[in-house]
């Protein structure tokens, strides 16, 4: 339980301000300048550079099992990835992944 409300409000306000500053950083400061070609070439890969790294530890060491690798979650992740690449559809990917997770948990 979080009982120290002063600390909580400090975290809420500073996290909000800091997060906005991060989001506004380049849009705000560099707004009227154009970026060089090498920078654009790197930025094309921002999405595939950040999100897989964010998700990999969550899949391999899931919080729900206390960080122990879990076959059901691993299978669900692979199914979500395969269906997402095959169908090019976010929803199909989520339904397939969560469906796989429920199926394996139900059967085991």
């Amino acid at each position: 339980m979080i009982s120290d409300k002063t600390t909580l409000w400090i975290v809420i306000i500073l996290l909000a301000a800091g997060t906005f500053a991060i989001r506004y950083s380049f849009l705000g400061l560099l707004g009227r300048r154009s970026l060089p070609e090498w920078a654009l070439r790197h930025l094309r890969y921002v999405g595939v550079a950040v999100l897989p790294g964010l998700v990999a530890p969550l899949v391999v060491w899931p919080a729900a099992t206390g960080g122990t690798p879990d076959a059901a979650r691993m299978a669900a992740a692979l199914v979500a990835l395969a269906v997402g690449m095959w169908r090019r559809s976010v929803i199909a990917s989520v339904i397939a992944g969560m469906g796989m997770l429920y199926a394996v948990e139900y059967l085991s």
Binding site: M1, I2, S3, T7, L8, I10, V11, I12, L14, L15, A16, G18, T19, I22, R23, Y24, S25, F26, L27, G28, L30, G31, R32, L35, W38, R41, H42, L43, R44, Y45, V46, G47, V48, A49, V50, L51, P52, G53, L54, V55, P57, L58, V59, W61, A64, A76, A77, L81, V83, G84, M85, R88, S89, V90, I91, S93, V94, G97, M98, L101
Partner: protein, 239 residues
């Protein structure tokens, strides 16, 4: 074709953003439930979710506060999780950088993973879009997602403690991120970047402050850019 003026671009964005309500809704619901169980009241939960509007960092902050981590560590870690947003901000500069300040502030506030993924995909597919169309498309994509984020955080906070753990909602978060990435893996440089990101993030997971993720992302971006250059050079050589 749709997207030929700001109004149709807005609705094209709205349609592209709409499927994400099915993933953002449960994610927001989960945050409301987790925050309530962590001891936050309705005002605290909603203030956090509306002002921060970055789910992964909100979960990070809550879990560290529950472990009574020092405030500095809570903030540094939660903001490190959000550093990826700086890269999204940079990626938006060629497209939205010349918009008026208030529009740049508005789009910065609305720069969520899902909105970014939808917008950048469209901008790359259609380089001929005008800036007005790009802004309209962006706001259209955010329109179904952001109100749902607020609403379902509130539903989660109110309905709170009734969701049993066997629904495995914990895993809705990673599955959402995977579903966002999979359709982006459309060329060899993209696949190479994603592989490096995964391997490096796992190898560097022990680094403090989530710096492992930032380093992994930088390595992955460099990989994508290098592979792209090698392929371009080879195809020029063959021609």
């Amino acid at each position: 074709m749709s997207g030929s003026n700001p109004k149709s671009a807005y609705w094209a964005g709205f349609r592209s953003g709409s499927p994400f309500v099915l993933v953002v809704g449960p994610f927001a619901l989960l945050f409301g439930v987790v925050a309530t169980n962590a001891g936050l009241d309705l005002v605290e939960t909603m203030t956090m979710t509306v002002l921060v509007i970055a789910g992964a960092s909100q979960f990070t902050a809550l879990s560290l506060m529950q472990e009574h981590a020092p405030t500095f560590i809570v903030l540094a870690t939660a903001l490190a999780v959000n550093l990826r947003l700086a890269m999204y901000s940079a990626a938006m500069v060629p497209h939205l950088g010349r918009a008026p300040r208030w529009l740049r502030m508005l789009t910065a506030y609305l720069l969520l993973d899902q909105v970014f993924a939808v917008a950048i995909t469209r901008y790359e597919e259609r380089p001929d879009m005008s800036m007005g169309e790009k802004i309209a498309y962006f706001l259209g994509a955010a329109s179904p997602i952001v109100p749902l984020w607020y609403l379902f955080s509130w539903v989660g906070a109110v309905a709170g403690k009734a969701i049993p753990p066997q629904y495995a909602l914990d895993f809705a978060v990673p599955i959402t991120f995977i579903a966002l990435v999979a359709p982006m893996l459309r060329s060899l440089p993209h696949v190479a970047a994603a592989l490096v990101s995964v391997i490096a993030a796992l190898a560097l997971a022990g680094l403090p402050f989530d710096m492992g993720l930032i380093v992994a992302a930088l390595l992955a971006m460099m990989t994508g850019a290098q592979v792209e250059r090698l392929i371009a050079r080879r195809s020029r050589g063959d021609a």
